[in-house]
């Protein structure tokens, strides 16, 4: 598997650290309530299909990335800088 780092280019997956669902970008407000925090921290879908995950190019530039990929075909559809995604959420 290879990931196209927007900064470094196409790199082997061994250079990347995997964190999990990109929902981690949407940190709730402190007073958002237990259900919201529970969903943020613990509740995850397990789709056969498209996922959006956070990876860090730890063995490279250090950038956190949002990787959109397919768990069935293993195709990587998009790689974006997490900082860009977060800015767009604001």
């Amino acid at each position: 598997m290879r990931i196209e780092c927007p900064i470094c280019g196409s790199r082997d997956r061994r250079e990347f650290y995997y964190r999990g669902d990109a929902i981690a970008l949407a940190r709730p407000a402190p007073d958002a309530g237990d259900d919201v925090w529970d969903a943020y921290l613990h509740l995850r879908d397990n789709p056969a299909g498209e996922t959006r995950d956070l990876w860090q190019h730890e063995g490279g530039c250090g950038a956190w990335l949002v990787v959109t990929r397919d768990t069935v075909t293993h195709a990587v559809h998009a790689v974006e800088l997490a900082s860009d995604v977060k800015r767009a959420m604001a």
Binding site: M1, R2, P30, L54, H74, A82, A90
Partner: protein, 978 residues
């Protein structure tokens, strides 16, 4: 028998080698198999289960029979295919799976026991009386079955792994692969051409035919020569592409030095490649399939294509009287090649009726089959069945062909299934099975040379289009375009065992028996009979076994299914895949700048992650580590000690929003920290548990230096990057790990300032440099940073210099400390010192502890949000019943405490349900004069003074302990401020 004037071996370079200690002569370019055949030696191995005598079946990597062991001692390598091993001067080859010798193998008694060892025998024998299995069958089977043996010694050879990148990976260097590589290379694409064989050209080196008016091998050599001159081409002979992975990744094994005496040259024996290719072309050729008939495993019976390869490639006649048996025109071709080379053709036996073979000066039997073979260690005769009955003819070699199976294995590695192609009675790759892979030539069911060349061009054009390149116009070379005429023949009916899977000793009747016992699916049949489960993964037998299964179950082959092909295509040594990962390659050493000095002082090292740190520094009469440790603790408590603390993570944080970042990641506030001051900080994970702790210094208005624990340095760095990039990309803050750049030493004890003032260019005092101060200093002309922080609780500093000065500074500090009746201290003393002060490490903050558990709930600021704060307020994390950090001291007869022991109420039974806590760290305190410990105990802070049972069930230690405050020395903390 070598045939004069034939073959591509170098007759000017004789090479000798040994097989089972006997010398054989061959030529450069020979394999073990070709050289043995040239010497008339047909017996090369014994079969896996029945120990049947076996010779070569093939001339390639699919070889099931001729498995040998090369080398001696730890450098020996079992299960080497004699058809792949090139000979070199001094090569030592041994037969395997035979005892006492290949020629006289007493284990061949298994062959007589074959009625008991058929399909499913492992499962069935378990059903028999237990003692029968245990005392009779199991010992015999375990000793008798199996392939080659490992030496038992460590592998003495060097291996490598490497990455390669290209626009186009061409897999296979036969006519299709060469043509594809040539077209793509001339169009400027970056091409890797990987061929399994030492000599590129594939079947062109084995067939007696012309391409572009030249002998096929000469045309191939010309193309290879052109490719070799091109900068955009990498030729990789002796390289088997073994696997296909996601995103255009391929694994490949290069046999770098398997073909020469390789000791002492430093080059690796094998290299395991990971190849990233934008496009790929599979041109892996095809494998000829045997025909199953009784005793078709006799040495001397081989595939027709192999016979032609030995003849044309190596100039070897595999026999003096060769019979040829087939269901397709390759049988005729083989007979013609043999006759042209002057080899006696005993007969051509063609299972088809009415085929013509003009001008043959040897008997041609049509509508006939070979139904049996005689001669135990060498073929002597074959029995031919015609409409008129059966008769024997003399033959010492039988060339057989049941047709060809495309080598489509790699197209199935991503889960694709092949498609049955009725026209050629074989499976072909399903289009699109691997993204970006184009399939060309025989592996796609195109068997003529002309067809392969044309397919190579077409595949290259498709790949170039995907790469955005244009092919140059090129004329297709003239080549043979004979049609592939075949009438299926999988097995010849009759009595006796007819082999399908030679490597795992699976016969037609085994598959039929599986079907009769209702193991009707291909996967069930495979597991029941073990067909296809040997190292060759059934390359020679899968399709024929399916055909027999289909026949036995009254289905077509297409509906019977296929087996699943998985990587690797051919066996790969774990040593190659894991190259570089042994010993220190698996866990590289991180060494501090004081490492050499510590070793010189006799310090044993302990591992902290990848770091090595001194455990203690033994002196003179000390007989054990405790004496050294007690003395070193005394240095810090009474005079001054020096300790290398460079392994702590150091993260340099700069930018206008640095303070905001720290306020978010630490539970306590850092925006209020004054420049020139240090503060202890606690970090939570977002789920509310403690992640790490450490100090953070404010070096300037927008400049902080964070320290982390040694073990959590990477995790904390990643966390800070996450917060800055994923949660607050609007903040202007930059993070740099500087752990390696600074050497840092603790100088601790009542005389620490006296020591430092002897070195600093500007001496300090308690007013200019109070507790928790930090600043830039100079010593010996070098800029340094000084922090007045204390892990030991004493008046202490940490001084840090650029790493290149670390070794010199350590020597200097230790010498000055010794002059003040102190000295270096190691990890043991460090641990005791922090235990005496109740300072936590990751023994306490093990991922399950909250700030409240460690008594730091007040450090979670009410005035601001922080990572983990919301979730730390969950009721379960605030439960007063949770374990709370306490100190322990022994109060009974047993004075020893152990870490990991459980705590029970006095008088309570030491059972799991009664456990009220557990110890995390213990050590002997010279100050207190006993062992002391830290523990988590339910409601522990209310239980100071209570006596509990400490029980270590594993070490069988029990002690009475008193719960106390987790600070044993200087509870007011006055010493650190003094």
């Amino acid at each position: 028998m070598r045939i004069a004037g034939r073959g591509l071996v170098n007759r000017d370079k004789p090479v000798s080698f040994t097989f089972d200690g006997r010398r054989y002569d061959g030529f450069a370019g020979d394999t073990v198999a070709s050289a043995m055949l040239a010497n008339g030696q047909r017996l090369m191995g014994r079969s896996f289960k029945y120990h049947r005598p076996r010779g070569v079946l093939s001339a390639g990597s699919e070889e099931p029979n001729a498995l040998v062991t090369t080398g001696v001692g730890p450098a020996s390598e079992p299960n080497v295919r004699a058809t792949m091993q090139e000979i070199y001067e001094g090569l030592a080859v041994r037969s395997q799976n035979a005892w006492p010798s290949l020629d006289l193998d007493l284990m061949a008694v298994n062959d007589l026991a074959s009625p008991f060892l058929g399909a499913g025998f492992y499962y069935k024998t378990f059903m028999w009386p237990r003692k029968f299995w245990k005392h009779v069958y199991e010992p015999v089977i375990r000793r008798a079955a199996g392939l080659g043996r490992l030496s038992g010694g460590p592998n003495a050879d060097a291996y490598e792994k490497a990455y390669a990148f290209c626009d186009l990976l061409v897999i296979g260097a036969g006519p299709a692969g060469l043509m594809a590589a040539l077209v793509a290379a001339r169009a400027g694409a970056d091409v890797i051409l990987a061929g399994e064989d030492a000599l590129m050209g594939g079947r062109l080196n084995a067939e007696n035919e012309h391409v572009d008016g030249q002998p096929g091998h000469a045309w191939a050599a010309g193309v290879v020569a052109e490719l070799a001159t091109m900068d955009n081409v990498r030729l990789m002979p002796r390289t088997t592409v073994t696997g296909v992975y996601d995103g255009g990744m391929f694994s490949a094994l290069e046999r770098v030095n398997q073909h020469r005496a390789r000791r002492g040259e430093g080059a690796p024996l094998e290299c395991f490649w990971r190849i990233a290719a934008k496009q790929s072309i599979l041109a892996a050729g095809a494998l000829e399939r045997p025909v199953a008939f009784a005793n078709n495993d006799r040495p001397g019976i081989m595939t027709a294509g192999a016979v032609r390869a030995y003849l044309t490639r190596w100039g070897v006649a595999p026999g003096k009287q060769v019979a040829v048996f087939g269901n397709n025109d390759d049988a005729h071709r083989t007979a013609r090649d043999l006759a042209a080379a002057g080899v006696h053709v005993a007969a051509v036996i063609d299972s088809r009726e009415g085929v013509s073979m003009e001008g043959a000066d040897f008997p041609v039997l049509r509508g006939a089959v070979v139904c049996n073979a005689s001669g135990r260690k060498e073929l002597e005769s074959v029995t031919i069945r015609t409409a008129g009955g059966e008769h024997k003819i003399q033959a010492d070699c039988l060339a057989m062909s049941g047709g060809w199976n495309p080598s489509l294995h790699l197209t199935c590695h991503l889960g694709g299934r092949p498609t049955w192609e009725p026209d050629i009675h074989a499976f072909v790759p399903t289009p699109g099975a691997v993204p970006g892979m184009h399939v060309a030539g025989a592996c796609n069911g195109t068997f003529s040379t002309h067809g392969c060349l044309a397919a190579g061009v077409a595949a290259a054009e498709n790949a170039l289009e995907a790469l955005g390149r244009k092919p140059e116009p090129m004329d297709l070379p003239q080549a043979d375009d004979a049609p592939y005429n075949l009438k299926p023949l999988w097995s010849v009916p009759g009595k006796g065992r007819a082999w399908l899977d030679f490597q795992n000793d699976v016969c037609v009747k085994d598959v039929q028996q599986a079907a009769a016992e209702n193991f009707r699916s291909a996967e069930h049949m495979k597991r029941y009979t073990t067909q296809g489960m040997a190292p060759d993964q059934g390359k020679n037998s899968n399709v024929a076994a399916l055909a027999v299964l289909a026949d036995a179950t009254g289905r077509g082959i297409a509906e019977t299914g296929t087996t699943t092909f998985r990587p690797p295509y051919t066996p790969v040594a774990i040593a190659a895949m894991g190259a570089g990962g042994q010993g220190k390659g698996f866990a590289p050493e991180r060494l501090t700048t004081s490492h050499a000095a510590s070793l010189a002082m006799g310090a044993p090292m302990v591992e902290a992650g990848l770091w090595y740190r001194p455990s203690y520094f033994p002196r003179g009469q000390e007989r054990n580590w405790r004496q050294s440790c007690d003395r070193e603790v005394g240095f810090v408590r009474k005079t001054v000690g020096v300790c290398d603390v460079s392994t702590l993570g150091k993260i340099d944080i700069q930018g206008p929003d640095s303070a905001k970042l720290l306020d978010l990641v630490y539970t306590n506030k850092f925006s209020t920290l004054k420049v020139g001051k240090v503060r202890y900080g606690l970090m939570l994970r977002e789920d509310g548990f403690v992640m790490d702790d450490g100090t953070c210094a404010r070096l300037g208005e927008t400049h902080y230096l964070m320290t982390t624990t040694t073990g959590a340095a990477g995790e904390v760095m990643r966390h800070l990057e996450f917060v800055t990039q994923c949660l607050h990309p609007e903040w202007q803050v930059h993070l740099t790990s500087v752990t390696e750049q600074w050497a840092q030493f603790a100088v601790a004890g009542p005389k620490s300032r006296e020591l430092l003032n002897g070195l600093l260019e500007q001496p300090i005092d308690n007013d200019s440099f109070p507790f928790m101060a930090c600043g830039s200093e100079r010593l010996g002309g070098v800029a340094a940073r000084l922090f007045r922080i204390s892990f030991s609780g004493e008046h202490a500093y940490e001084i840090t210099v650029p790493a290149r000065y670390g070794a010199a500074l350590f020597d200097l500090l230790v010498a000055r400390a010794e002059a003040l009746e102190g000295g270096a201290y190691g990890m043991e003393a460090l641990n005791v010192l922090r235990l005496e002060k109740g300072h936590i490490t990751h023994a306490e903050i093990d991922g399950r502890a909250t700030a409240g558990d460690i008594g730091m709930e007040r450090m979670v600021s009410d005035a601001k949000d922080c990572i983990g704060k919301t979730m730390s307020e969950r009721p379960g994390l605030r439960d007063p019943e949770r374990g709370q950090l306490v100190g322990l001291r022994p109060v009974g007869a047993v004075k020893q405490l152990t870490a990991g022991a459980f705590l029970f109420e006095a008088g309570a039974e030491a059972r799991r349900e009664n456990a009220q806590g557990y110890t995390t760290s213990v050590g002997f305190s010279p100050d207190i004069g006993t062992f002391i410990g830290l523990a988590f105990v339910m409601r522990g802070r209310q239980r100071h003074g209570e006596v509990m049972r400490m029980v270590d069930h594993l070490r069988e230690i029990e002690a009475e302990v008193e719960i106390c405050a987790p600070v044993f020395v200087d509870p007011e903390g006055g010493r650190a401020r003094g």
